[in-house]
């Protein structure tokens, strides 16, 4: 599925990723943990193609296709989805309109028919109910005036509706109370499947109690400095990142 090799990336003239390598096979969930400033969000933006995140060396491929050569919307149509750490407010665009526009754009890019209005609404009702989102909320401008927890739930709703193949969750647990965390985690776990892969970026181990990873990587100083099983997350929770920061 995803293969990242020796990735070096520069933001504002400063090298943030310094030779990052990572491989996530289909069907697996990998977690990336690391201290603030390690490059976690930079990795998510490089993989999704945000302006200002310049790759100077290395590669990132999805099923063998060079991701870095594709525009952000083309990557999305190929199945790359980023759940933002800070989801944007989109004044004037109802959530339903936004999601439907996105879904149909992806379908057009893949040469598929647009989804009909009744089919779309049925899907939206179903997924919103599963995430305990009031359907009326989807008629409001996306994320405008929503609480932190509501915004994160809207991210997972979009994910469920767009049905991506490769999912990046950037600090999805931040700003969530324990009940919201459980709902969001259930939503994410419902998307686990043999043909999907996930990259869960988090500062704390807490989220990984709910979304159980197959592998855990430690990102420090722009590189993966340690990898292991789920037990590595617990180890980090006890011992902190200090020794890895020194190693980096």
């Amino acid at each position: 599925m995803l293969k990242v090799e020796n990735l070096h990336a520069v933001v504002d003239g400063k090298e943030i990723l310094k030779g990052l390598s990572l491989e996530i096979p289909a069907g697996q969930v990998h977690a990336i943990m690391g201290p603030n400033g390690a490059g976690k969000s930079t990795l998510s933006y490089v993989l999704t193609g945000r302006d200002g995140y310049e790759v100077i060396e290395g590669s990132a491929t999805l099923d063998g296709e060079d991701l870095l050569a594709l525009a952000p919307d083309v990557r999305a149509a190929r199945g790359v989805f980023l759940s933002f750490q800070y989801p944007l407010e989109i004044p004037g665009v109802p959530a339903l309109t936004f999601i439907r526009t996105a879904l149909n754009a992806q379908r057009r890019a893949r040469g598929e028919d647009e989804v009909s209005a009744p089919a779309f609404l049925k899907l939206a009702r179903e997924k919103a109910a599963a995430l305990k989102i009031d359907f009326e909320m989807l008629k409001r401008a996306l994320n405008v005036g929503f609480s932190g927890g509501e915004k994160k739930r809207m991210e997972i709703l979009q994910m469920a509706m767009l049905s991506p193949r490769f999912l990046i969750l950037d600090e999805t647990d931040s700003g969530l109370d324990i009940d919201a965390l459980r709902i969001v985690a259930d939503g994410v776990n419902a998307l686990r499947s043999p043909d999907r892969a996930m990259l869960v970026i988090t500062h704390y181990q807490r989220l990984l109690d709910y979304i159980k990873p197959d592998r855990v990587h430690v990102l420090a100083g722009g590189r993966i400095v340690a990898s292991g099983g789920p037990e590595l997350a617990h180890e980090l929770e006890r011992g902190g990142y200090e020794r890895y920061e020194q190693a980096a």
Partner: protein, 341 residues
Amino acid sequence: MSIATAIRDRDVAELPGRRDEDWRWTDLRGLIRKLPPPSEPFTAGVGDGPFDALAAERRVVVNGRGAEPIEVPRDASSIVAVRFVSRGAGVHIARLNIFLGANARLVLLESYESNGASLSEAALNITLGAGAVVERVVLAQDHAEAVSVSQADVTLASRATFGQTTVASGARRQRLETRVLHPGGQASLRLDGVYLLADKRHSDQTTVVTHAGTDGVTAQLTKGVVRDQARGVFQGRIVVEEGADRTDARMGHHALILSDRAEVDAKPELEIFADEVACAHGNTVGALDEDALFYARQRGMPEDDARALLTEAFIGEVVDRIDHAGAREVVRAWVAERLRG
């Protein structure tokens, strides 16, 4: 200083220009070296207007001719489409008087349609009786070489309601000016505007609201999108006279500049001489939010689609405030067509 006196005296020095404070960003005096000849009567057909299908009554004023007064008697109700059509490259003015009796209702659907380098002025006087309700929607779709000025003087009475949305795509010089005498007394005013400008077009939306009595309400929202070398002008003045206590007036102007060479000049002014008033204004001019743009693209929208969606939503906030559903949809379609290019 006006186009009318310039025509009367055949003297370009009478045109308004930069020395008139209110006209400094729409300098006709500096632009026009020689007055064009007076427009000839135009007798051929002028096609359909943008609001024809919605109106109970249709008026067409061509090259300044045919502006018969509109009167809506007490308690009556009407929907009137008025087209100010300019054909050719002459100069002309039109005057239109509109009267509403007490509790009368009017939806005024107005359009400006020029097809060449004309110089035109339309002067409207709109007088509302007590409790009368007017919604005025103006679609100014002028020719790129036209100089087009519309000036409306509106006089409200107590409990009257006046709602207005001016929508403009600019011209060589285009000005939509509205002056409202607001007597207070629970009269309510909404003054909205939209300008969508491309190429070298210019559009000026100028409003002056004078609150002369207590308990008046004014809500104003103007939004613009300018690209290429276009220039948008917004001047909004709200005067709250001495004794006009408990006035509630809010003015917002927000513009998106989509190219380095486009320009927006804005001058919001509040002059308050009364007590206990609630007055506020907000003014922002900037680019489309790059973070929101990336967010939309990450969800799969191609860049042009994402820009169009966000820009339409930006303007949509003003369009949504139009009460008359049919006019709202005409304006929405007109905006979408221009933003999607």
